[in-house]
């Protein structure tokens, strides 16, 4: 990717992204203000329809707008839907999976409307956020139930294959009620991919999983994507998205704040001003020493607390220990002051 210059975050107005043509995917798409939704209707003519497409979609509950004028296109690969809790991630996934009617705009699966069209479930596999799965069925029975309702020619073979894919072989004949969270999640995935769908939609799939389960689930999703499937998962955790997703959609307060390649978004996040609170044996001396450090552009000493601002996270991280040692100050604690996800997102959309 050629360097287009870092887009100023202030320029990223919270407005819908016009859907990019498939060829231009991967580019960081800062969403510019005043973009007309006009091109949204254009792509229908060229090539096969996208696996999932939203055209100026909004959804509101009474007076509350949950999703606000979102347009996007998904094709093969793993896409992460990133946003803080309450940003509208579940609402978007529910509209894609035909369980919420868009208040405005169109939600298309393989080119056809998702709402009130049960046939579209041949194309998508759904892994809902809620944990409950029929507790009295075994994992195998649950997979076979899904296979039968998909009218597959050989439901038993399909169920066995799906169970093997998610690695649930050892527990397949135990009731799901006895499963751990991670196993339950895998049973849900087995049920979702039993009919070999082209698109897999997962709502917070890593919630409640331990690190090992998380890793194996990521591995599984990568494999699915390598087979040419379109995979969309939602998460409010930056690291999950960073580790798995090739493409990212950032959703803030119901609007699509940014979309594109993760590295560009990550750089933007890393380059933003960071604030740290430092505790040391001599805050005043450390403050003076840090002032000489080029990576630091602000030092504040108030209420007995030392706050340091830096624009270059990496460089500051490398330098701070050396500076402390050189001035013979012991560092007790160093922690980011504003690293909540919300502050990262507000930075991205420039609404600080």
């Amino acid at each position: 990717m050629s360097e287009p210059g870092r887009p100023s975050p202030e320029g990223i107005a919270p407005v819908a992204t016009p859907p990019a043509a498939p060829g231009t995917r991967g580019a960081w798409t800062p969403v510019s203000a005043g973009s007309s939704p006009g091109p949204a209707s254009a792509p229908a003519a060229s090539g096969p329809p996208a696996a999932v497409e939203l055209r100026s979609v909004s959804r509101w509950y009474g007076n509350v707008v949950a999703v606000n004028d979102v347009s996007l296109r998904l094709d093969a690969g793993v896409t992460g839907l990133l946003g803080p809790n309450g940003a509208g991630k579940s609402t978007i996934l529910h509209m894609m999976s035909g369980f919420l009617k868009p208040s405005a705009g169109q939600v298309l699966i393989a080119g056809q409307a998702a709402w009130r069209r049960p046939e579209m479930y041949r194309h998508i596999g759904l892994v809902p956020e809620r944990e409950a799965v029929y507790p009295t069925l075994t994992g195998y029975e649950f997979a076979r139930f899904n296979a039968r309702l998909q009218s597959l020619p050989d439901p038993d073979a399909a169920a066995a294959r799906a169970i093997a894919t998610v690695g649930l072989g050892d527990a397949q004949h135990r009731p799901i009620g006895t499963y751990s969270k991670g196993m339950r999640q895998r049973a849900k995935v087995a049920g979702a991919l039993v009919h070999d769908p082209t698109t897999l939609l997962l709502d917070e799939p890593f919630n409640g999983m331990d690190p090992r389960q998380r890793l194996s689930m990521m591995e599984l999703l990568r494999r699915m994507a390598a087979e040419g499937r379109t995979i969309l998962f939602s998460s409010h955790i930056l690291e999950e998205v960073e580790r798995l997703a090739e493409e990212v959609l950032v959703l803030v307060a119901g609007r699509l704040a940014a979309s594109g390649d993760f590295r560009a978004i990550r750089r933007l996040m890393t380059d933003r001003p960071h604030t740290f609170t430092v505790r040391s044996s001599d805050d005043r001396r450390l403050a003076a020493a840090l002032m000489d450090e080029p990576a630091v552009f602000g030092v504040e000493l108030s209420d007995g607390r030392l706050t340091v601002r830096t624009a270059d996270l990496e460089r500051f991280g490398r330098a701070v220990a050396g500076v402390a040692r050189a001035s013979q100050v012991s560092l007790f604690e160093l922690f980011p002051t504003d690293d909540s996800l919300e502050s990262v997102f507000s930075y991205l959309v420039g609404v600080r």
Binding site: A66, F99, L100, L137
Partner: protein, 248 residues
């Protein structure tokens, strides 16, 4: 397809405390009939035992046990799945919504028929053993209860799709509307499933005409059929436009 949906539904719906409780309720009429026979109060004729038979069939079975059992199974058919979100797994399938509704109906109605129909048949046989023409009454009430299970079952399954408080709405309907208002205002009896059941019992029960129904059998059957059709249509339409509750 319907069978697979019914199979999985029955695994969730039955075999729990709910079924046990309903079983006890269905056992009540049988116990009553046994006590009646053992107590030696019977006169040996339908006319002579009219008071008891009315209490057993009308007041207990048709008025109380049948609607309550149908209500519990009917509203739980979708209710519990919608509550815990597992209904998504059923609905995220390329299956006609009518098929889904029929699969659920099969279980809710089937369970009610087995429990209440069986209870009616057994209690009737015990109470009317050796009584001349007693078999007509038994058959009449059993047929009527099966028909009632279909009508109540369909209405309550649809109710479970229309409102999240189907159990309360159903109780209000059974106790207030059918129990109180319909007896005070005869005009609304055409809108009372209980009256359809009694009407059908009258038609099948031949001699004695013991059921206290006020609708002619033909009207009872016609109205019952219309109610079933309307409930299936409403339920299917609600399911086709099913939206997950707001969570985000």
């Amino acid at each position: 397809m319907i069978v697979e949906i019914a199979r999985v539904t029955s695994r969730q719906l039955l075999g729990r405390r709910r079924t046990l409780l309903m079983g006890l309720l269905a056992l009540l009429p049988i116990l009553l009939a046994v006590i009646f026979r053992l107590g030696g109060a019977e006169t040996g004729s339908i006319v002579g035992d009219r008071g008891f038979l009315e209490a057993l069939f009308d007041a207990l079975l048709v008025t109380l046990v049948l609607p309550l059992v149908a209500l519990l199974f009917g509203t739980a058919a979708f209710g519990s799945e919608i509550e815990d979100g597992t209904v998504i797994y059923l609905l995220a399938k390329p299956v006609r919504r009518l098929t889904v509704v029929l699969g659920k109906l099969l279980v809710a109605i089937g369970a009610t028929v087995v429990l209440v129909g069986g209870s009616t048949l057994l209690a009737g046989m015990i109470a009317l053993l050796g009584v001349s023409d007693g078999q007509y009454l038994i058959i009449g009430y059993t047929v009527a209860v099966v028909a009632g299970a279909i009508i109540y079952g369909t209405v309550f399954v649809a109710l479970g799709l229309v409102t999240g408080r189907a159990l309360i709405a159903g109780l209000v309907y059974v106790l207030l509307w059918e129990g109180l208002l319909a007896s005070l205002l005869p005009g609304i009896q055409v809108l009372s499933i209980r009256q359809y059941v009694l009407g059908i019992a009258d038609a099948a029960g031949v001699s004695g005409r013991i059921a206290s129904g006020t609708l002619p059998a033909s009207s009872a059957l016609t109205l019952g059929a219309i109610v079933v059709l309307v409930a299936v249509v409403i339920g299917t339409r609600r399911l086709a436009a099913f939206e997950v509750p707001q969570a985000d």
